[in-house]
Symmetry: C2
Subunit: 300 residues, 2 copies
């Protein structure tokens, strides 16, 4: 919903994305105007349970007070968890207290340490880990990792062996089958085939070119990596803690990701034509690259 | 640039207007997304010298940190003055210190007392006064009042009397003419005709229906008055500290303003058709009424 950088333009909003995992919405960064982006993308506000802030630069978090205020105006109950660097609660709690003192739900802050990779969310089907980035302030990306999927049941084989249906669920989760009469054990791999590969999405914005992130995002199906500048501005990128499109592609290639999406464009790119060189230079290194836009939806 | 209310919609942005007075830009309220509005309306950011916040509800001020941050990224020097209720500096100074510690210009806070009408800006051609409003938190509107314009010189009369051209400027400012030879005094009203009427613009958002504002905005050429609801919702309006379109029109009529512009629409109005009743009911009382929109420009 936002793939611009700090300076506003009419083409791009500041950073904000929604990761929808089986109906749960995770908001990743929360730039000013995020509510308009949510409306435009028809994301139901009420389904956002977790908000992940990569860092506390305004273009990644200044939409937070308005969003929390709107969530708390509605019928929203339960809890919203805000994951962010250490300062997040110190900065935002007083603003929530002032601008939205009567929220209909709880807001909990879950700080993370940006100097190391941490698991910040863990449930039976999904893990979210931080990916330490290298920017001008403490900053982490996020890796969404689906847990291994259940194995596929070989139904014909199970029928042949007259295994009762009640055992099928356990077998897809990896159990062997022991015939209660003969005591004979049929190993799981004869009853199932491997489950569909589980998916990984990595979000890396904002960062210097940093090979240290490669092992953390290895094999991700999709990588969003900032590409504030083209490689012609590599010196400026380094000075400001940003990457070039070419560097993003190098990271994607080294990490063997499936697809790369570029974003966090400098405001100097005033048109689609001016953004095209970002894509062109990235594709010289990593062909399966796309340019993000505000209405992009990618099914991983 | 914004005439919606707190809940975001795809039709309207939260409150923000620019008053352009002879090239000086005054930003009136500063809702989230104000920078996009400024870009869309082609208002040069660098010309904004004064920001006036009517009150500290999020939909009137949450665009401030991003805007100040952008102003301070640019070549902007000198001073930006933020006029607002007492809490403004306490809330925003820490945010500027955190999110934009290295601004290229000074930011000065100029608090006003929302319980009385105060002059908050005064220069040779323009005065800005606050207009105490009645809302759920301390809140003031603003009255922009052009100072009396110079009288028109009756050039033919001056020539007849052989008045040297060097005296013309003083005469337009109201001086009499004394003939240095005869000592005879020609009163100013024989040498000039009255200047063009000076203009007044009144901004009143958000407020209960309050007749106390009528004498303060008497005779304004243009009045922006909030009209969050139609009169069918007058009870809800009163409970939430807002006005109906009919009430806005009553204020306009009692204050003998030239034109009324309605705004601050509730998010319940999802289309132009749904907003039409606001206009219709206001016009039953005050025919010269318009509905604000995000790209509206009015030449007072």
């Amino acid at each position: 919903m936002g793939c611009g950088s700090a300076k506003p333009t009419l083409r791009h909003s500041p950073s904000a994305q929604v990761v929808n995992f089986r109906g749960n919405q995770f908001l990743v960064d929360c730039g000013e105007g995020v509510q308009v982006g949510l409306c435009r993308s028809k994301v139901p506000f009420g389904k956002i349970g977790h908000i992940l802030l990569s860092h506390l630069h305004g273009d990644h978090c200044l939409g937070l007070v308005g969003l929390i205020s709107t969530l708390g105006l509605g019928q929203r109950t339960g809890e919203v968890v805000i994951h962010g660097p250490a300062d997040t609660e110190r900065i935002f709690r007083p603003l929530f207290d002032y601008f939205c003192p009567q929220l209909s739900m709880e807001v909990r802050f879950a700080p993370f340490d940006t100097t190391r990779s941490e698991v910040i969310y863990d449930e039976p089907t999904l893990t979210i880990r931080t990916v330490p980035l290298h920017h001008r302030v403490p900053c982490s990306g996020f890796l969404f990792e689906e847990k291994p999927r259940p194995r596929h049941l070989l139904v014909d084989r199970c029928r042949e062996l007259e295994i009762p249906v009640a055992y099928y669920k356990g077998i897809t989760l990896g159990l062997d089958w022991t015939d209660p009469e003969s005591g004979k054990v049929v190993p799981n791999e004869l009853l199932t085939s491997p489950g569909s590969p589980s998916k990984k999405y990595a979000y890396c914005s904002d960062t210097l070119y940093a090979e240290s992130i490669v092992p953390l995002i290895e094999g991700a199906d999709l990588l969003y990596h900032e590409a504030t500048y083209t490689h012609a501005d590599v010196v400026k990128a380094r000075q400001r803690g940003h990457s070039t499109a070419l560097q993003a592609a190098q990271i994607a290639k080294m990490a063997h990701v499936g697809q790369l999406v570029l974003g966090h464009y400098s405001a100097q790119f005033l048109s689609a034509e001016m953004e095209q060189p970002l894509l062109d230079e990235a594709r010289t290194v990593f062909p399966n690259t796309l340019l993000a836009n505000e209405r992009m939806v990618i099914d991983v």
